[in-house]
Amino acid sequence: MILEFYLAASLPLFFLLVFLEGGQRRILAFLIWGLSAAVIAYYVNSGLFLAFAGSSVLPDVTIAPVTEELIKALPLFVLLMAFKHRYSRELLVLAMASGFGFAILENYIYITGFVLGGADAIAYAVVRGITTSVMHGSLTAIIGYGIFLTYGFERRSLPSILFGLYTVAVTIHALYNLLVGHTVSGRLYGIIIPVVLFVLLYIAYNKDTFLSKPPLPAV
C-alpha cells in the first residue's frame, strides 16, 4: 500500500509546486522528498530486515535508524555539494520538512497496520503525530542546522562534520526506537526526547531573537 499512499499524497503536491516560488517551493520540494524517502526506506529496510531475519539483530533499533536518517538527509548533502558555502539557517526548516514528509507517510502505514477503531485510532494518530513525527523532523533538522553552522569552515573538515551530525541523528533515533519499542517505562522518554529536541532547535533557530537586547525606551 505504501506506493499507493505515496502517489496519492505526492502527486497533488507536485501540481502545487508549479505555482510556488523561492523558499516556499524549496520547503514543499523537501516535504515531497521526505515522502519519497519513506518509500525508498521502506523497500531498503524490508530487504535488510529479510537479510538479517535469522540473526539476533533488532532491525527497528539497529538497521532502520541507519537507513532512514541517511535517506531523509540525502538532499542536504547534495545541496552542500552544489551550493558550496552559500546556505542559510533555512536549511533547518528544509531538513525538518523532509523529516515531516517522511513521518507523514510512515504514519499512514502504521495507522493502517493497526486496525483500531474510533477513539483509539484517533488517539494513536495524535500520539504518533506529536512524538515519532516530531522526532523524524527534529533529527533531520539537526543535520540541516549543523550544515548551516559550518558556514565558512575549511572544506576539508566538512565531510567529518556531516558524518558526525549523521551519527548523532542515528544514535538518538536508535535510542528512541529502543526505549519506545522495547520498554514500558521508556515510553515516557519517547514523548520527552522529540519535544526536547524540537524546543532546542526552536531556540537555536531563533537565538538571535532570544539573545538580542530589547531597545532602550525613548526618553
Binding site: S55, V61, P65, S157, G164, V168, V170, T171, L178, G186
Partner: protein, 244 residues
C-alpha cells in the same frame, strides 16, 4: 556586608572533581592490569558508569568554556564529540539493560563512537593552526597503524567485523596524524586524551574482532574513561592558562 567568594574557588573545585574522576579512571586501568584477563560483570558495570560520567563531564566542561571563556571551534567540536560518544555509549548500555545481551559488533553504537572521531578531527582542523612538524612524522604513525589494521582482515578474512575494525584504524590514523601536525601536543592533557581515546577504540575493536584477543584489550573501557577525564580537564583549562 556580603563577601563574594573568590571566583578561583569554583574553578579549583571543578578541577579537583575532574582530577578525582581521572584518578578513579586510572584505578579502573590498574584493576585490568592486576586481573590480567577477562573482567567481571561488576567491573564492566562500574566501568560503564564512570565512562558515561567522564564523557558527560567533557560535554559540560567544553560547553561551559565555549560559552563563558573562549568560543574556540576545537572546544565546540569537543562538546559535540563528547555528546555523540555519550549518546552512543548510553545507547549501548540501555540496549544491554533492556534486551539483556550485548549488541553484535558492528552496530549503531559503533557508528556513534566513529562520530566522535569525526568531530574531534574536524575540531582539530578548524581550531588548531598547522604546526611546524614535518608530514613524515604523521607518516611514521600512520603506516604502522594501517598495517596493524589489516591484521584482523588477514587473520579472519573480509567480513563486517574486520572491515569495521579496519575503518576504526583508519579513523584513528587520521585523528592522530592531524593531532600531531596541528600541534595538539602543546596542550598535553588533550593530546594524552586523544592517544587514550584512540587506544580505547582500537582495543575495543580488536576485542570484538579477534577470537582470542590479548588481555590488554580489556583495558578499552578504562582507557575511554581516562580519555574523557583528560578531555574534560584539557578543555576546561583550554583558555584559563592559555594552554591546557
Amino acid at each position: 556586608m556580603r563577601l563574594r567568594p573568590d571566583p578561583r574557588y569554583g574553578d579549583l573545585v571543578v578541577r579537583g572533581m575532574l582530577v578525582v574522576l581521572l584518578v578513579v579512571s586510572f584505578g579502573l586501568l590498574g584493576d585490568v592490569i592486576v586481573v590480567h584477563g577477562a573482567m567481571s560483570a561488576t567491573y564492566t558495570g562500574i566501568s560503564n558508569a564512570i565512562q558515561l560520567v567522564a564523557s558527560a563531564a567533557t560535554v559540560g566542561a567544553a560547553a561551559w568554556v565555549y560559552f563563558h571563556r573562549n568560543p574556540s571551534l576545537f572546544v565546540a567540536h569537543g562538546t559535540f564529540a563528547g555528546a555523540t560518544w555519550t549518546l552512543a555509549n548510553g545507547f549501548w548500555y540501555a540496549y544491554l539493560m533492556v534486551i539483556g545481551e550485548g549488541l553484535n559488533y558492528p552496530t549503531v553504537a559503533d557508528l556513534g563512537f566513529a562520530g566522535a572521531f569525526f568531530f574531534l578531527t574536524a575540531g582539530i582542523l578548524e581550531g588548531q593552526a598547522r604546526g611546524h612538524l614535518s608530514g613524515w612524522v604523521a607518516v611514521s604513525v600512520a603506516v604502522p597503524l594501517l598495517v596493524f589494521g589489516f591484521w584482523p582482515v588477514i587473520l579472519s578474512g573480509v567480513n563486517a567485523k574486520t572491515i569495521t575494525t579496519l575503518i576504526m584504524f583508519v579513523l584513528a590514523t587520521v585523528l592522530l596524524s592531524e593531532a600531531l601536525l596541528r600541534s595538539v601536543y602543546r596542550h598535553p592533557p588533550l593530546f594524552a586524551a586523544i592517544v587514550a581515546f584512540v587506544l580505547a577504540h582500537l582495543f575495543n575493536s580488536l576485542t570484538s574482532t579477534l577470537v582470542n584477543p590479548p588481555w590488554v584489550t580489556h583495558a578499552a573501557g578504562a582507557l575511554a574513561a581516562i580519555a574523557f577525564s583528560l578531555f574534560a580537564l584539557g578543555f576546561y583549562g583550554y583558555t584559563t592558562e592559555g594552554r591546557a
